[in-house]
């Protein structure tokens, strides 16, 4: 295996983040020991594709060279706003306590190391036992050449419920590098909807860690439309019996966008169920990446794991790279995955056109139908129509 030559400009990027940490560290909230360790990990891990000495499997298809080569301004006040008008959840700011959760792995994930090293703020949400927390909105709108690393935490006690809707928008080139740690208590239910509609010049990374206790449910959906380089990375661990994880999503890309949807679901207890449907619709010269792994530990008997990943290539210059993985150590399980790649079906197009539907409309109709398998998992109608509107806007944009 050949080592990737260290790139001077990219190394400068890594050094830049480290220098930023050195300048800020006395003012950063929270345990300095955690920060120091994260800095050491970041120094070691570098930015995959930019300065990492070796290619890592987790970043096989996504290079952070252009992130490393960008000079970002350092300090941002908050990086997000929160709307609690429809929620009873308790909110506090990460900046106030800066308690790092136990789930994130800065020692393994370079962007998480970077976040842990520099995180200044984030939303900390808590819903007490047997309480319906309603709907919380977390919005970030960036205009900058800055880098910000929000650190969110969501904790649902036993039997609690909550819906979180996150949106990310902005203009210009910036780095939004969020880490979210989620604790779903026994019988609790979290719906986590994310709409990533960042500036087409921005870098967006969201790493989500969720731990799900007995009969708890994590129901996640991410719609990815924006960003020059983006990655959604979800680590869900089903640590309790009968736990459920859904990690659905859709990525709609055009131009020279690159978006990576990577997930690892780990079944550690019996009778768990995980479901995943991820769709990619790729136009222009865009590149979509899907990496999904289902891990089943020895004790996780009666696990039911399902994963479907489909891509539509709308342009001859688009590319999809897909890697669905099964890693199974228990025998009494049902695990399956499927993947398909192709273009819009010529026969279906012909059928619609022969009935007088103009080509563009026929295409739009088929794309919407393709996406509906995934979007239908969003049960809240208001939220789903928000997402559908975004899909519509994306279609207009890519057709223009």
């Amino acid at each position: 295996m050949t080592a990737i030559t260290r790139n001077a400009g990219a190394q400068a990027g890594v050094d830049g983040f480290l220098a930023c940490y050195d300048a800020l560290k006395d003012a950063l909230p929270g345990d300095p020991g955690v920060r120091e360790k994260a800095a050491a990990s970041f120094r070691l891990l570098g930015l995959p594709g930019g300065t990492a000495a070796r290619r890592t499997e987790a970043w096989k298809y996504t290079s952070l060279r252009s992130v490393a080569e960008t000079a970002f301004a350092t300090r941002v006040e908050r990086g997000f706003s929160i709307d609690l008008s429809a929620s009873t959840a308790t909110f506090s700011r990460f900046a106030a306590q800066a308690a790092f959760g136990p789930l994130a792995r800065p020692d393994r994930d370079p962007m998480v190391a970077l976040n842990t090293m520099l995180a200044e703020d984030g939303a900390v949400l808590h819903v007490p036992a047997d309480t319906d927390g309603g709907v919380v909105r977390i919005d970030s709108d960036s205009h900058g050449p800055h880098a910000f690393h929000p650190r969110h935490a969501i904790r649902l006690e036993a039997g609690a419920r909550l819906v979180v809707l996150e949106t990310a928008t902005g203009t210009g080139r910036y780095l939004h590098n969020a880490v979210t740690e989620i604790d779903v208590g026994a019988g609790a239910h979290l719906t986590h909807i994310r709409l990533q509609d960042e500036s087409l010049d921005a870098f967006h990374f969201a790493t989500i860690y969720a731990d799900i206790a007995d009969s708890g449910t994590y129901d996640g959906f991410s719609l990815v439309i924006g960003g020059r380089i983006a990655r959604t990375e979800i680590h869900a661990r089903l640590s309790g019996k009968n736990a459920v994880a859904h990690m659905n999503g859709a990525q709609l890309l055009t131009g020279n966008q690159h978006a990576d949807f990577s997930s690892v679901v780990r079944h550690d207890a019996p009778h768990g169920s995980s479901r995943q449907t991820v769709k990619n619709v790729l136009g222009g010269r865009s590149r979509g990446v899907f990496q999904g792994r289902i891990e089943v530990a020895r004790d996780a008997q009666k696990t039911d794991g399902y994963q479907m990943n489909q891509a539509l290539l709308l342009s001859p210059d688009a590319e999809i790279d897909s890697k669905p993985e099964l890693e199974i150590f228990a025998d009494d399980v049902k695990c399956s995955h499927g993947a398909t790649v192709g273009a819009l079906d010529a026969e279906q197009l012909f059928y619609l056109r022969s009935r007088g539907v103009p080509e563009g409309e026929a295409q739009a109709m088929l794309v919407r139908a393709f996406l509906s398998d995934a979007l239908d998992f969003v049960s809240d109608e208001t939220i789903r129509s928000t997402l559908e509107n975004s899909v519509g806007a994306w279609w207009e944009r890519q057709a223009a």
Partner: protein, 487 residues
């Protein structure tokens, strides 16, 4: 827990083919350096270009690192602690079977290799299929039958060292053209030190009149075996090649790093079938063969076809990805695989289908069966390049787990850069259906027979791709491999 799982490891079966033949060996000293490479080349009276090829490979190998991405674990291999050349001592090459060392013949008989002139399988009468055998005993081919019948139609089938001597232009033209010298760590090692293997050339428009077959054996202690196989099918040619392996029982792990290259021109078809039954190590994971093999075929011509079928039951570690590079328009690649792992075996195997030509199609069917404390991984790549208009791939990977101490893994990579190309992949993992077992048991089958029946059914899609005589052997092999793992 199922009754199947409870009886895991209850019985352990010895390796049926574990015996060692005592023949005087001609051994090179242990270790690997430029002198050893030169010595191998000199022993085989090779031309300068081949020595240079070897030295280039050796230089590349020295700069490379052993790959670590496969899901296999083993103690570090000391490449300096191996003999890189071992040949049975003999004066001149045997002219006929009578001249072959009777010890060897006896061994082949034990293995059931049809080396005799009219090698026939039980149950087939008179207009029976004929099989040409190029038997490889350690590193040097000792007997080749049917040479004449083949040469009549212009087919060249001989040990590769002979081909270097008799058909140097052909060998020089194609050797390393599919698997370049520095393709990977093990192929570079092979290119530096390969001692023998088979060469097969089917001229234009010729349909090879019989199945070609090579039995490999690894015999001497501490010899790595580095086979090199090269098969060229000219336009319109057709050949079916069988490779089967057994190896004697021993404690030290043995390294095997073969390279197989296939080249198919316009309208040519190459069918390559393997039954791999090398010593897998004992029930405690001691011993066994390390099988690190590079197999690749290139469909150069339009409408050419390369089909890989493998039944992998042996070896302590398998690292093997028979691949197809589909350059020709409407060329076809196929991969059918059954991999069985028991005890402490580790298999990381799969395929690569690289679609370049318009309308190229590929099919992948992989069946993995894990039992005992083994790990069985399917790892595959399907890549559609921008030029592969209208290309198609369908992949089906199924894993069966027997017992709760084994692992089954699926790692497919799908990369597409052409919207008109279609890729479909599906994979499942499950255990033997209790209902199916119950159904068989209540009809009077023993648990073991029931499991064998179900496993054979699970593998049927692949086994039916094997030539008939291999299919029979493979079915038996599955049963023997799983003995003691079930019921």
């Amino acid at each position: 827990m199922s009754t199947t799982a409870e009886t895991i490891d209850a019985i352990s079966t010895g390796y049926k083919w574990g015996f060692e033949t005592d023949i005087e060996m001609d051994l090179a000293p242990k270790g690997l350096n430029e002198d050893i490479v030169r010595l191998i080349s000199a022993r085989k009276n090779e031309p300068d270009w081949l020595l240079e090829y070897r030295l280039k490979a050796f230089a590349a190998w020295q700069k490379m690192e052993e790959p670590d991405w496969a899901r296999v674990a083993h103690p570090p291999i000391d490449y300096q602690d191996l003999h890189y050349y071992a040949a049975p001592k003999k004066k001149d090459g045997p002219k006929s079977l009578d001249e072959v060392d009777p010890e060897l013949l006896k061994m082949y008989e034990k293995l059931g290799i049809p080396l005799k002139e009219r090698a026939v399988l039980a149950g087939v009468v008179d207009d029976r299929p004929q099989i040409a055998v190029d038997a490889v005993f350690d590193s040097v081919s000792v007997a080749t039958t049917y040479r004449e019948a083949l040469s009549k139609v212009g087919v060249i089938f001989c040990p590769i060292s002979e081909a270097v001597r008799d058909h140097p232009d052909l060998v020089q033209q194609y050797l390393g053209s599919v698997v370049p010298v520095a393709d990977n760590y093990f192929s570079a090692l092979n290119a530096a030190v390969f001692t023998d293997g088979s060469f097969c050339y089917i001229p234009k428009g010729v349909r090879c009149p019989m199945e070609l077959s090579t039995y490999f054996r690894i015999n001497a202690r501490n010899t790595g075996q580095f086979e090199r196989t090269l098969i060229v099918a000219e336009a319109g040619a057709h050949v079916s090649y069988l490779e089967g392996c057994t190896a004697p029982q021993r404690d030290e792990n043995q390294l095997h790093a073969a390279v197989v290259e296939l080249i198919a021109m316009d309208d040519a078809t190459i069918k390559y079938s393997t039954v791999q039954n090398w010593y897998p190590g004992d029930e405690n994971g001691k011993g066994g063969i390390y099988n690190f093999v590079t197999k690749r075929g290139v469909c150069r011509g339009a409408r050419s076809k390369i089909s890989w079928t493998q039944v992998e039951t042996g070896s302590a570690i398998t690292w093997k990805y028979p691949s197809c590079v589909l350059i020709g328009e409407d060329s076809v690649g196929e991969f059918y695989s059954v991999a069985v792992t028991t005890h402490h075996q580790q298999a990381d195997t799969g395929t690569k289908m690289i679609h370049i030509g318009k309308g190229s199609t590929s099919t992948i069917v992989s069946k993995g069966i894990s039992a005992g404390k083994s790990n069985n991984t399917y790892r595959g790549l399907v890549r559609m390049l921008p030029s592969a208009d209208g290309a198609r791939n369908h992949t089906q990977c199924d894993s069966l787990l027997i017992g709760d101490t084994c692992g089954a893994h699926t790692v497919p990579y799908i990369e597409s850069r052409n919207p008109s190309a279609r890729v479909e992949h599906e994979a499942t993992t499950s255990k033997i259906d209790e209902e199916k077992l119950f159904y068989c048991r209540q009809r009077g089958l023993t648990e073991e027979d029931a499991v064998n029946l179900i496993v054979n059914g699970f593998c049927k899609e692949v086994l039916k791709e094997l030539p008939m005589e291999f299919a029979v052997e493979a079915q038996k092999l599955l049963a023997v491999s799983l003995e003691g793992s079930v019921g």
